[in-house]
């Protein structure tokens, strides 16, 4: 084992001497307090180390030991419903050891060593297995957790036993003597192997109208949510964590508020998944590195999260990874880079920021998993970005834009008027629209794409018209343009707005989304048809059905909602009769 001594301490970065033989990204134990750290630069016999804990109290000449292994996470049953810090230490275990505050130098394994899991083999002695093959299963809450052959291992099974085991017990041995426990380790900075990447084609549904209908995301895709403070990034991320239709959700609180993590921790056990009826916490893995926890561990938290996500993907499962916020991760990079006295790129960020961001987002994807069985799994990354001053021209936003497939731009002006989710419909886009068109026509309705397009057109048109209104006032517009303003208002208020806190509306099923939009567009068509018969616009806008449209969100009964579309036509048709009779 390589043992050196501390030569310099500067905040979270230390330099150690006599470290010859160390490799980049080896994990080291720093000082007598045994603080975990990672080598981030080698210079002769000196190693520069980022330390995952507060370095206060460290002294020059204290020992530094190289463990010889890269930063890894433990993978196996027991991950679900856990809450970890940035380097996969379970927070409840830290609490049990050190109380209310996170003190230093405590090592706790990521997976519980005591707990026993019932292992059911699906293979038998004599079977040949390779990397990624399922040896057997374990029931983890409601998820069938596949125990897989770890990467790089293959051979003929000699023994395989069913029964109750801890994660470190050997459940299978191969003919060459390899022992396979349920637990496997994987270095976080390296993507787990798979066979082939697939094109995304299935949308990731969230129950949020502005996301699903307007700017859809796909399973295996990437999305970014940038927005200044107070625009609702965190609420959006949490809403997605609640309602995304994946079997597993990894939620990374990266450099964010402590109280927010508490919020997730207390809320998720009480909420149930609308699709399965099980508590949401049972499909969620949380990684919490709050803003006041050590900076270097914040940098690692993103990788810890994505590696866990990839592990579940390898079982053939859809996983969503939510990172709130990637800007804090970028800032951690910047801080460490500054301490390394590297030549800065834009705004003090290191020149390799774009590469690192791209490498992270590219770990998303829908893949054919490793193994001889046919399995497809996906990891979808949804990253929040916190641009300073809400200015999207800053490096993290710009570099993420180049990679992310869906762009949900949050807008402070919408948030100020409590239009939530404050997604700006003009700036946002989804590059996956064409990928999911087939799916939507097949599963929802053939004309979904058409209605969406018309709604977008009306919203676009509204912006143009508003510029004119600013100059000449609303009265100067002809009626056929006034209609557009009115319908755009209905789309904004009665369709796009969706309260995350409303019991009736926080989750909106896809079919309801479709009908809501359809009714609004039909209302628009009905008005235009009636206007051709010279019915005054004022009357058309004040039909009784309009207030029902405004309350569509609260309508839980889909059949009654569907009837509303007929009501809209009837009421506009009737108007003609009335006007004719009064005119006569």
């Amino acid at each position: 084992m390589i043992t050196g001594t501390i030569a310099r301490i500067s905040g979270p970065v230390i330099t150690a001497r006599n470290m010859t033989g160390s490799r980049m990204y080896d994990v080291v134990s720093v000082g007598r307090a045994a603080l975990p750290g990672e080598i981030i630069r080698l210079e002769g016999d000196e190693a520069v180390i980022q330390v995952y804990e507060d370095t206060t109290g460290l002294m020059i000449h204290e020992p530094v030991e190289n463990t010889g292994v890269p930063l890894s996470v433990e993978l196996g049953p027991g991950l679900l419903a856990s809450i970890y810090d940035g380097v996969q230490r379970p927070l409840p275990a830290l609490y049990a050891k050190s109380g209310n505050y996170i003190s230093r130098g405590i090592m706790v394994p990521g997976l519980d060593r005591e707990r026993r899991w019932a292992f059911t083999p699906v293979k038998k002695p004599g079977d040949r297995v390779q990397t990624g093959d399922v040896l057997g299963t374990v029931q983890e809450f409601h998820l069938v957790h596949s125990i897989m052959v770890p990467p790089g291992v293959s051979g003929e099974i000699k023994t395989i036993t069913s029964g109750e085991f801890t994660v470190t017990d050997v459940v299978c041995t191969l003919a060459d003597g390899t022992e396979i426990p349920m637990l496997q380790r994987w270095p976080v900075r390296k993507g787990r192997p798979f066979v082939k990447r697939l094109d995304p084609e299935v949308p990731l549904l969230t129950g949020q109208r502005v996301f699903d209908t307007m700017f859809p995301l796909v399973k295996g895709g990437t999305a970014m949510i940038p927005g200044g403070f107070g625009t609702g990034k965190t609420v959006s991320e949490q809403t997605l964590a609640k309602w995304a239709d994946t079997q597993v959700v990894v939620y990374i609180g990266c450099g964010e508020r402590g109280n927010e993590m508490t919020d997730v921790l207390t809320e998720f056990p009480e909420l149930t998944d609308p699709r399965t009826g099980y508590p949401l916490i049972e499909r969620t893995i949380m990684i919490a590195n709050t803003s006041n926890m050590p900076v270097a561990a914040r940098e690692a938290s993103i990788y810890t999260g994505i590696t866990i996500a990839e592990y579940y993907r390898d079982m053939g499962i859809d996983v969503a990874l939510l990172a709130d916020s990637t800007s804090r991760w970028g800032e951690a990079l910047r801080e460490v880079s500054g301490r390394l006295e590297e030549m800065p790129g834009e705004e003090g960020y290191p020149a390799y920021l774009a590469t690192r961001l791209a490498a992270f987002y590219e770990r998303a994807g829908r893949v054919i998993c490793a193994g001889s069985e046919e399995k497809t799994g996906s990891v979808t990354i949804i990253g929040a970005v916190s641009p300073p001053g809400g200015d999207f021209s800053e490096p993290i936003t710009q570099n993420t834009l180049r990679i992310a497939g869906t762009f949900w731009a949050l807008d402070a002006n919408l948030a100020y008027r409590r239009h939530y989710p404050s997604v700006n419909w003009i700036r946002s886009y989804s590059l996956y629209l064409e990928d999911v068109e087939d799916w939507f026509s097949e599963k929802v309705a053939r004309d979904w794409y058409q209605f969406r397009g018309r709604a977008m057109y009306i919203l676009q048109k509204e912006i143009e018209l508003q510029e004119i209104v600013q100059l000449v006032g609303p009265d100067a517009l002809p009626d056929k343009e006034k209609v557009i303003l009115e319908i755009a208002k209905i789309i904004r208020e009665d369709f796009l707005q969706q309260s995350a806190y409303s019991d009736d509306d926080s989750f909106c099923p896809l079919e309801k989304q479709y009908w809501m939009l359809k009714i609004i567009i039909w209302y628009y068509d009905a008005i235009r048809a009636a206007m051709r018969r010279n019915v005054p616009l004022r009357q058309l806008l004040s039909i009784p059905a309009r207030s029902e449209i405004a309350r569509m969100k609260e309508q839980r009964d889909l059949e009654r909602l569907k009837k509303l579309s007929d009501t809209v036509w009837e009421q506009t048709e009737n108007l003609e009769v009335q006007t004719c009779s009064t005119a006569a």
């Binding site: 030569a7 310099r8 301490i9 500067s10 905040g11 370095t55 206060t56 109290g57 460290l58 020059i60 809450i83 927070l91 409840p92 830290l94 609490y95 209310n100 505050y101 996170i102 200044g228 403070f229 107070g230 965190t234 609180g253 450099g255 508020r257 402590g258 109280n259 993590m261 508490t262 921790l265 207390t266 709050t290 803003s291 006041n292 926890m293 900076v295 804090r328 800032e331 910047r334 006295e341 705004e347 003090g348 916190s386 300073p388 809400g390 200015d391 948030a415 100020y416 008027r417 409590r418 600013q470 100059l471 000449v472 006032g473 609303p474 100067a476 208020e493 806190y501 207030s547 405004a550």
Partner: protein
Amino acid sequence: MQHGSLITVEYQTVNYVSGPLIFVERPKEISFGETAQIILPDGEARTGQILDISEDVAVVQVFEGTRGIDSHVTTVRFTGQSPLLDVSYDMLGRVLDGVGRPRDGGPAIIPEARLDIAGMPINPYSRDKPAEFIQTGISAIDALNTLVRGQKLPIFSGAGLPANQLAAQIAKQAKVLGEGENFAVVFAAMGITYKEASFFMKEFEESGALERVVFFLNLADDPTIERIATPRCALTAAEFLAYTHNLHVLVILTDMTNYCDALREISTAREEIPGRRGYPGYMYTDLATIYERAGRIKGCTGSITQIPILTMPDDDITHPVPDLTGYITEGQIVLSRDLFRKGINPPIDALPCLSRLMNLGIGPGKTREDHRNVADQLYASYAYGRDLRRLVAIVGEEALSELDRNYLKFADHFEKRFISQGNVERSIETTLQVAWELFSLLPDEELKRIKQEYIDRYRTLIISGG
């Protein structure tokens, strides 16, 4: 307070002095973050803290500034301890300086404990969810941006705006409904003027709360670098009072902009790569170590609620200090110069204000069932009214519809009657009552954010003169 060794090593090896930093050569057996005592040629003792050590040099920041330090006679003694604060229940009612030494001429604090001022991060798993509504008696806060116990809610002010009056009013009026109080206030001043500090003292004296307040004062003419320690000392005292003595502590930190400027000064002296506007790249993390020290802990009855005050240079909310603060704190109260000029008091600009924890503290059993809906409706209607004002400036009021004219009126009344309340304290019921009175300017179908049953229940109350 030497530990481990009876021998004290003194260094006379100061070789470089730059701004607030001194560089001590050939240090031995010293640890990162420990405090140093610096003895000047004239015998004056100052304190400092180690920022960086390597084998041949230690960088020490001197809290009281480096004036008078030379590179020959000055000696440096390392204490082996990170900066500690003597804390005691008897701190209540005392006035201390920026690093916790008595400033009021009274005796030294007899410590019940000596605590590290840096504090430690609270395990998110141990945190308890803030859930109790604090009634501040100010409509713009109670109704629209509710303060909850354990929250950190800053006031974003501009030079000359009455942020201090607002903070003092909150400190005086704040109470949790239906509870006898066990409260304390910790007040940390960083670089504010004597006049501002004495305003707060007078306010607390008038309300008879002076013996429940601990003052940590670093005034404008006190050493700049001491400001780095001031909020940390204050929060250490607050944590002790909250989690050891089970008090509900309100911490007022003013002015955080001065704190950040001190941070920038050190960063520049260390020749670090600057981030935006010269502030160091780690300012987010640094501010977080202050702001995150608010909250509640499971199993403790005490709590810490923070109201930091900061001045937005040139009223610019995108300036790094308010910007980074807004990213850490759970909302913000923003003061507006326009409203101040109009004579609105307090001049709170509702639109950019936010309380992220509001939903945890309101609703049936806490405030009232219609609270959330009323707040949303006030926001939506006021925002629309403000848009119309811009339109009116171009096309004139005649071009507007009857309804839009009502919205204009609504926006005016909202500012004059709802936001502006002077020194009057309003209960949450009164506040909601005023809101419903404002809604009478608008027809029912415009109240889209409010559930029909609440409209039926509360609107009739107003119309029938209730």
